[in-house]
């Protein structure tokens, strides 16, 4: 598996860019690969597998053909193994952002990290959208975001000597509360209940720091922000004993991730609510060379099942081949009998 997190200096030229490294995006690598097409994948998460890996890695799935029972993570691992002969390249922690057509008809796609692709085919396999941090519904919070309200820690030196509120009850909240406890002027951990789903070891460490007076614990939910020009002065919270005011310089909020369609909505594609309309021959959108497969697409009779996405990936690949190799003929072959396909798979 090739992982690239820093943008290359020159545009990456590839036969297909797959937006979303969930099960359907991973299987598309395989189907494109059988036809000799290369693929790069972009995903907002820091790992492959999409919803299978993020929402239900441990939950068994019972309707994958030939797998009477397989967990989300196992399915991801198997698909990675199946795609491996085709050397997919993964660009994680970034979102597909802007798309434009070049004079020769190919596409230029740029990600939020500045990675640029030139490709004949863009395959949107984005599921329910890109996983992005859940933003607390506090009025006016957008004015504070990036200045004193954060959903991730990119530069921890920013928090040295600051009074921090870290909200959430999972591993991200606890890990950062513990990590920043010494460097910050103060850390207040804010959670809606006095019980934490984070790793027991972290919870124990946090309880110890609270007992020693090196960390504060507030039980409640955020309600409003006080501050000027995006600089936080206090967070007001609701608690079972009524409202409370917590003075602070910064809020780090870790309320998990939620999928958002994001920039794809601006690409000029025909949408139905937050799904992309496609035809059922090529699974192409209204824009030639832009495809949508898996949960993100819609057509009459659509069923949001992983197996539907697998079928859609195979049909999409036929048209992707014609676009990437206009001078070549497409031959239909089976993996059981074709020595050409077996060579590609590295089993001949």
């Amino acid at each position: 598996m090739t992982l690239i997190s820093k943008p290359a200096s020159a545009p990456i030229v590839t036969d297909a860019v797959i937006v979303g490294a969930g099960p359907v995006g991973l299987f598309a690598v395989f189907e494109l690969g059988l036809l000799g097409l290369s693929a790069h994948l972009v995903d907002a998460l820091d790992k492959v597998g999409g919803q299978c890996a993020e929402l239900y890695p441990e939950k068994p799935i019972f309707d994958i053909p030939a797998w009477p029972r397989i967990t989300g993570q196992e399915l991801t691992d198997r698909l990675m193994e199946q795609a491996a002969p085709f050397n997919p390249v993964f660009h994680l922690n970034q979102q597909a952002q802007s798309l434009s057509q070049q004079p020769d008809g190919s596409w230029r796609l740029e990600t939020s990290a500045g990675t640029v692709f030139h490709t004949a085919n863009v395959v949107i396999a984005a599921g329910a959208g890109a996983f992005t941090p859940r933003r607390p519904p506090i009025p006016g919070i957008d004015a504070f975001e990036g200045k004193s309200v954060f959903y991730a820690v990119r530069d921890r030196s920013k928090f040295v000597g600051k009074n921090l509120i870290i909200a959430g009850g999972g591993d991200s909240a606890l890990d950062w509360a513990l990590a920043l406890a010494d460097d910050a002027a103060s850390v207040t951990l804010l959670h809606r209940r006095d019980d934490f789903r984070a790793a027991p070891d972290s919870v124990e460490k946090m309880r110890r720091l609270v007992a020693e007076g090196r960390m504060a614990l507030a039980i409640g939910q955020p309600s409003s922000l006080e501050g000027e020009d995006g600089h936080l002065q206090a967070l007001n919270i609701t608690t079972t004993d009524g409202p409370k005011r917590l003075p602070a310089d910064a809020l780090l909020a870790f309320y998990g991730l939620k999928p958002q369609l994001g920039p794809i909505a601006e690409w000029g594609l025909n949408l139905n609510a937050s799904t992309v309309l496609v035809d059922t021959e090529k699974f192409q959108t209204n824009v030639p060379g832009i495809f949508a497969i898996g949960d993100i697409n819609h057509y009459p009779g659509k069923l949001k099942l992983i197996l539907s996405g697998f079928h859609e990936a195979a049909l999409m690949s036929q048209e992707a081949f014609r676009r990437a190799r206009p001078a070549e003929r497409l031959v239909f072959r089976y993996t059981t009998s074709s020595s050409d396909l077996q060579q590609k798979l590295g089993v001949a």
């Binding site: 919803q51 929402l55 239900y56 939950k59 329910a128 859940r134 933003r135 607390p136 519904p137 959430g168 009850g169 999972g170 959670h191 809606r192 209940r193 019980d195 789903r197 939910q221 309320y255 998990g256 939620k258 999928p259 958002q260 949001k304």
Partner: protein, 112 residues
Amino acid sequence: METGKIHVTDRSGDRHELDAVQGWRLMELIRDQANDNADLKVEALCGGAAACATCHVYVDDAWADRLHPPRDEEVQMLDEAFGVTERSRLSCQIIWSPDLDGLHVTLAPEFD
């Protein structure tokens, strides 16, 4: 199959009487009958796996003690919801049976 009714107050405050079918999740009953009413829609992103907190409802006081208590998984998932109260439930974790005939819930606000 046993059937009955549930009452759902939508996000604009309108109350709807919906059909209930034994074995269906409350989330599924609402999703199936919301039609084009955006205020009555539940996102239910994960499809009922208690993995996304996008089918959050408030159970009417009168019914609070008549539901089975939430499992840890549901309580933990509610940590990622907002506006959580002691009446908060994930509607995908409430499976309708005739003893819930007349159950009344209110949809929690939806956030982006």
